[in-house]
Amino acid sequence: MSVSNKIFDTNVQLVKYKVLKEVIKHAFAGDLASSQISIAKQIAAGNKESMHCCIYKERAISEERVFMAMGGDRSNPNPIAVIDIACDECPIDGMLVTSACRGCLMHACKDVCPRDAISIVDKHAVIDKSKCIECGKCSQVCPYEAIITRHRPCIKSCKVKAISMDEDRKAMIDYGKCIACGACVYRCPFGAITDKSFVTDIIDMLKQSEEGRKYRVYAVIAPAIVSQFHFGRVSQVVTAIKKIGFHQVVEAALGADITLYHEVNEWKEKRMLTTSCCPSFVAFIEKNFPELVQYVSSSVSPMVEAARLIKHSDPTAKVVFIGPCSSKKMEFRLPKTGGAIDSVLSFEELQAFFDALDIDTTSLEDSSLDNASFYGRIFAKSGGVARGVADVAASYGVEGVEPVVMSGIDECRVNLMKLKLGKATANFFEGMACDGGCINGALCLTHSSKNVADVEGYGNEAKEKTIENSVKLYKLTLPLKSGARNQE
């Protein structure tokens, strides 16, 4: 199938995808080790550079991309990394006086500056960078709109202020602050910050399963998938995933139903709770509001819950999560998940898998995908968890849940601050690091406002309208009682 750029929002995604596709092809063929240089040459094709100083630098960057597609630096458990030679060292730093400056008599900029950083030199405002704190007040008061604020896209995208410039002006991530949300990955115009890929691990896992004879490999897919892969139906995408070599596709939303059940029960006891399904949100609390960690729900994320269900029913199973999320690439290796998930694949990487294996989704038969309830499926959008908890609590006769929906880290910060200071009126805090929820996850193919409607529609298509049957299933797959044959 031909792939146009329309599958992705940006050309940066397209280049990452091209690298992944080649890495996947060669990994399946078993000659990846000897093909790395040729893949890099193929990506940075021709003899003429297109954006950097020379073709050799572009090839070197491509080699780095191949390295990232093969897992990158595995000694760092954070899945986000800077490709330093790809960083353009953007010469952008804060306030800039443009040629529109008239050097006027009023010089409101000079007067408003709280740090006395502005002087008028040769009829032109000049900012002393050593004093400027980039508060932006000069920009607001200038009657000619002559002063503009510019920040590096990576620094602007990072809501936890984990990105700074090193002495060579290269982007640098402070991993003590980074919550692996992936916002910078999507925003860097040079693709210099990227997520490490585990596609080669997954291919090894599939190969060694000997087509399910040794063990079965399951795919757990995030409900946000419904807003992606628009060229085929979700039911065809499910068939396509099986064609890659997965035994069965299970909805993460099934795990979400069980997470809801746990959260309602936990809220009943604690009367104050935050969600725990977004690993970036949980990391944000741990790193910025350690005193609030006590309120974070102890329930595991839907991804982990779904994987546990699978492994209870099939103890030798391996489980790969497929989603829009870079922080799931961090979460699955955390000790608290107990190895429930064996690896994580992004939607971008899934697309690369389809095309590397020449799987034409549109020509495939449909496979049903229906295990979860309406509520589990709408977890993917901001407000979905809160709505689920409120409704499920009501159905269990639990009263008094006052949810607040926090979409994006900025909203999370404000509301958590209220909670910390005892000023919160809400008692259930739904937090998602990405604006709008998982449907806008950093590793989505496309980020569109239409995605919300897609998820709502998908929720309505669920056979189960309540979480009741999912909870039954959960209880049914719990470890064995005595009296029966013990197979585990």
Binding site: Y218, H247, Q248, S313, S368, K463, L476, T477, R485
Partner: protein, 95 residues
Amino acid sequence: MILKVCVGSSCHLKGSYDVIEAMKEVIKKCDVEDLVELRASFCLGCCAQGVTVKAEGLSNAAVEHLENGDVLLHNVNSQNVEDIFLNQIYPYIKK
């Protein structure tokens, strides 16, 4: 012995949960709750013949055996559960 009811998407849509409920009833009725472990399983690979139930650890069986002696029962629904259990499972439960 273990009874695994398929809850893969295809079987789920055909009523896995009704089968599970009905199976619980009949197991209780026959007074073999301590001998039969009822569990769920994701996709037993017979999507066209759902709901599928896999019986593991029977002494013998009237229907086709799998390689390891387990038995697959197809097209189970809440109406025929009792019949299938009484004829194809109950007589072969090991004490």
